[in-house]
Symmetry: C2
Subunit: 315 residues, 2 copies
């Protein structure tokens, strides 16, 4: 059974861990993650790929569960030096182990390898059980339109904690980007395509904005099942509400489901998994042509994540 | 009093610390170090400048005195990751604090700044008391000719500990390089030019090989005083003997002095400071037109280094 998951970073990583756990019971299960790269950037001459790394560390069991991101047992010796030299963003601290990953990635990229091949090489260090493919090998950068100009997404997200009102999001160079090798086939040949409970605007939205990917999702013979990142009108993690507000979508499981839309009506969803507390939204979603089901959505631990994956696959 | 020192890394750093110490007693002393960059290289997409860094760390009081090189209190978290990813040279470990310096340098270079401006910016973090100028802003790389081919200098030096017989040294691109801004003026306008007790072949030899520098040393109105890196037929540190053998020069204070040669005979030296144990070489050096003096050369601590600097300046 071929399972393809469109995913952002931290939330997608937990979901993928659940999918992997659940798939242990499925004969010949193959899991592919198509990962957002819109948050990637060059910082102090290092190529940083936050979502790819969050997923890699989480699936490798190397993430810091307490903090929720980055490597466990991390230190910040290099960043301390960069601050002392006045180089880089003082509010954006990279861990030493994390810098090891960025340096390895940067060196392979500079040798001429595309990001997808670099990702294969870097992830081969661990037995992840999931094939990670960046949505594109091209450098697509999400910027945030704010009053008076534009901020890099990380500046808006990490420095300003999304408190500067966003007027919109721009994915620079996205119109000239192409899906990375394997992305379209992973969607077309899948038995099921899952949309992880990731940020609908800057994570899933960026993936779908790469020319060809939305059409592949629309055309696949696989069932497309999404999982809501919104529970009871609030984001499970991150600041997706600020992103949704900017594009005029209400922060609710129903509104996000309708924003993605039914495949039968030109959207991307066959089915939409929402939390029990949002059960009242089922009729409106069903009326729009989206099969909706209310289940416990909180991924408190690997077991509940696996149950959520099972629910998504059952839908 | 303007003092200009041509210098390699570790030995030159100690000597420069002595010059700075001694110069505290000289009104309006200005010390400039013209530093070898032939050992510089790109490694895992980082620009590494071993000699500039050895001098900077030593003058900043940040070097590891026990080990003799690198930063005190160093750790190797990033290099551990690079090894796990199979990236870089497993036998060439970069410390975390050191990587902070390399990343800062790399980022400034990639922004378009020449190495000399980058060095000004990086060294401004500390009150070094010495102006460091790379001998050239161009990428001149020392390679070692060995039986059957060529090795990068660091591969020969660090991996093979100079045990593979060197047939010669090649400074790639040196013929097209130019002295960094300030280098020729620092030599021409100096009151005294000192040749640090550094490797005569790959450190001082590389500096002198940059078109224009040897001629500037030959033409300066300053007195040019060298300090022998050889004591009693042995190198004080490093493996300069292997380098000298490769170019057919005996490992002795006398042979190195004669290799540099008297300015009056087309060489670069007015005077040559050798160790007491080598006093027997004085007549031969004097006969060749080089004022020679035998003094204690061992730089055991800052005080003896300062005394050596005083002796060199007195000569």
């Amino acid at each position: 059974m071929k399972i393809t998951v469109l995913s952002g970073g931290v939330g997608g990583a937990r979901f993928l861990r659940g999918v992997r756990e659940h798939a242990r019971g499925i004969p010949e299960a193959e899991i592919t993650a198509v990962v957002n790269t819109g948050d990637d950037m060059w910082l102090t001459s290092l190529r940083i790929a936050p979502d790819l790394d969050s997923i890699m560390y989480t699936l490798a069991g190397e993430n810091d569960e307490e903090r929720g991101w980055g490597r466990v047992g991390e230190t910040e010796r290099v960043s301390g030096e960069l601050r002392a030299y006045g180089i880089g963003w003082p509010w954006f601290t990279l861990g030493d182990l994390d810098i090891g990953t960025h340096l390895a990635r940067t060196d392979l990229l500079r040798s001429g390898m595309p990001l997808s091949a670099v990702t294969d090489r870097i992830t081969s260090r661990w037995d992840l059980g999931v094939h990670l493919i960046p949505a594109t090998d091209d450098e697509v950068e999400t910027h945030v339109t704010v009053e008076g100009g534009e901020l890099h997404f990380q500046e808006w997200w990490t420095k300003h904690r999304a408190t500067v009102p966003a007027l919109g999001f721009v994915q620079h160079y996205v119109e000239n980007s192409t899906p990375a090798p394997g992305v379209l086939a992973a969607i077309a040949d899948a038995d099921v395509v899952l949309i992880a409970p990731s940020n609908p605007v800057v994570s899933i939205g960026t993936i779908l904005g790469i020319p060809g990917i939305r059409a592949a999702v629309a055309a696949t013979s696989a069932r497309v099942v999404g999982v809501s990142p919104i529970i009871a009108g609030a984001v499970v993690r991150g600041m997706a509400d600020a992103c949704l507000t900017a594009i005029g979508v209400e922060t609710s499981a129903e509104a996000v489901g309708l924003h993605y839309g039914a495949r039968s009506a030109g959207g991307i969803l066959d089915a939409w998994l929402i939390d029990e507390t949002d059960a009242a939204a089922v009729p409106a979603l069903e009326a729009a042509g989206i099969a909706a089901r209310a289940v416990p959505l909180w991924m408190r631990d690997p077991a509940t994540s696996a149950q959520l994956a099972a629910d998504a696959l059952a839908l």
